[in-house]
Amino acid sequence: MSSNPKSSNSAVDFNQVPDTRGHFGPYGGRFVSETLIYALDELEALYRKLKDDPEFQAQFDYDLAHYVGRPSPLYFAERWTKETGGAQLYLKREDLNHTGAHKINNTIGQALLAKHTGKKRVIAETGAGQHGVATATVAARLGLECHVFMGEEDIHRQSLNVYRMKLLGAEVIPVTSGSKTLKDAMNEAMRDWVTNVDNTFYIIGTCAGPHPYPELVRNFQSVIGREARQQSLTQAGKLPDALVACVGGGSNAIGLFHPFLEDESVAMYGVEAGGFGLDTGKHAAPLNDGIPGVLHGNRTYLMEDENGQIIETHSISAGLDYPGVGPEHSWLKDVGRVNYVTIDDDEAMAAFRNLTKVEGIMPALESSHAVAYAEKLAREMDPDQMIIVNLSGRGDKDILTVAEIDGITV
């Protein structure tokens, strides 16, 4: 595909990023302490070796088919489309994957890498708990010791997932530093990794962090977009007009977007968490209201104060409650290929309820942000146009949060 010269937009070659040092334009890179360089070099060398190895690919594809249950359906949501009015709404059903979210695509891939290193212990950070569950799951399957770092705040918000991880044999380590959420869990995981690098593989859950993680996670998650592209051609006989996905760190979004980047007719919308509203400052939308800086090993858009301190974010959804974003998204924003928009807590909640009632599909609160934006977008588009929404996860884990809002004790 990349060998075909593109007529326009040729200044930007989406297959040429990141460069060999992990840069997406000015973003990405490897901003870590010297103590971590060795571990990252080792990981990069392993990934370069296995990336195009047919045996590794075959194993990855096999696991995705037989363990995860791929391909996930591309579902035409007919009733939702009718009720919304406007463009045809399709859902990429990542919620139907084993463990209930897109996160498993990446953990399957990284666990295969871990297996090649011979390391017996994996660690992960988690916000909503989906990545923690996905990591605990692959660790159980491979017989690896698994420690998951999770902010104390998120442990309260996502108690069901905490219990799932424990049942899967993982140890959930509460993180009490800083804001006690995903960013602090990531700090703690990096501290653990640097201390235990000899026997530990760090499975990062999103397309952020030091090189090569953003590239590696993107490539593992791109199965979403590859399937969706093929399914769209087969089922609708054409490419979609727009893609919509929520963006916290942004792994489900980059997974859907990446295989479509060169399809100029396909518009893309990454939906950040607007929290209480952009103007309140209490949100998690660095691409809409942040500036570039350095955190967690990469340069990217961040939420920070005038002294360069990272500020606490807010979102109703734990999985989007993160002050940074994957560096490729920062670059895609700057080059203008993807539009980054926001949906606030209330809009996401309304979309959660609506999709549940209209389609019998309960979206994760994270994915509900994409669902809400897709409704807005569909109304501005023609009925013969088509939108694919990444339904990145199912909402079962959020039932307690929703019940609490409704004043119900479950």
């Binding site: 040092r21 890179g29 490897r30 901003f31 870590v32 302490s33 010297e34 103590t35 360089i37 060795y38 571990a39 070099d41 530093s177 800083g178 960013k183 602090d184 990531m186 700090n187 990096m190 501290r191 640097v194 201390t195 690098v197 000899d198 800086g293 350095v294 955190l295 967690h296 090993g297 961040l302 920070e304 005038e306 002294n307 360069g308 301190q309 990272i310 500020i311």
Partner: protein, 276 residues
């Protein structure tokens, strides 16, 4: 000449080892750090390493992490650290001061503004924990033009080619991290320190100081023979934390407490020199 070069030169002439002391700016209060810095110098510190508080200090262990949190509670910032160094220089024009921190606060201020203010304040060197040589080219140019040293870490896991890359860009001295892991962790492996310091010395004329895991006079002595000096951090910050927890507000009490620790380590380092 840069104060760091001067200091190592005079230490070499005296046959003594360098003692580098780390505290976090504004821990636990803004008025504590200046008397602490002076006390560190009076009791034998050769180089002050001043930590810039950051919200996400992910190379630090729990002890120094909490120091960053205490400092941030009342809004200590890079700006405050620069003002503090300026104040320190009013009565101490000899002791080198090294700022140690993370990239983001410096970038937020802007390289130009930062360097201009750092020169004006009398800062001699900068150690940016999360800015390895690959990402440091632009910053390094700025530092060079201002005659400021760029201090880098090397770790037990740094390969020989890595050691070369780092020493090629480094100035001032090489900060050898004696352990895998975060600050304040674990126990010292003297043999591994020896091996690595030897291979670093084959690559550079810069002095090599060893940090992470030095807790007292005895551990300081153990590595001093193998290197040009030691860096002491967590043991000082621990003492500050203990006082902070007791609700101590008198800066003089903090100054006295760190004096005791540093005096013991200095004595052990100098005794080591005499014993040789």
């Amino acid at each position: 000449m840069n104060r760091i070069k001067q200091r190592f030169e005079s230490l070499r002439q005296q046959g003594r080892k360098a003692l580098v002391s780390y505290v976090v700016m504004g821990d636990p209060a803004k008025d504590v750090t200046l008397p602490v810095m002076h006390a560190l110098v009076e009791n034998g510190t050769d180089i002050i390493e001043l930590g810039i508080p950051f919200s996400d200090p992910n190379a630090e262990g729990p002890v120094i992490q909490k120091a960053h949190e205490r400092a941030l509670e009342h809004g200590s910032s890079l700006r405050d650290a620069l003002a503090l160094v300026k104040q320190f220089r009013e009565t101490d024009s000899d002791t080198p001061v090294l700022l140690m921190g993370y990239t983001n606060p410096i970038e937020r201020m802007g390289y130009d503004t930062f360097i201009e203010n750092a020169v004006d304040a009398g800062v001699d060197a900068v150690l940016t924990v999360d800015l390895p040589p690959e990402e440091a080219e632009e910053f390094n140019e700025h530092l060079k033009q201002a005659n400021m040293e760029n201090i880098f870490l090397l770790a037990p896991t740094s390969s020989p080619s890595r050691q070369k890359k780092v020493t090629d860009m480094a100035g001032g001295f090489i900060y050898y991290v004696s352990l895998k892991g975060v600050t304040g962790a674990g126990n010292l492996d003297v043999n591994s320190v020896k091996e690595n310091v030897t291979s670093i010395r084959a690559l550079t004329d810069l002095p090599v100081c060893v940090g992470f895991g030095i807790k007292d006079g005895a551990s300081a002595r153990a590595v001093a023979d193998l290197s040009d000096g030691v860096v002491v951090g967590s043991v000082l910050v621990n003492q500050i934390a203990a006082l902070a927890e007791q609700g101590e507000t008198n800066p003089a009490t903090y100054a006295e407490a760190v004096s005791v620790i540093i005096a013991e380590i200095r004595e052990a380092l100098d005794k080591n020199t005499l014993d040789k």
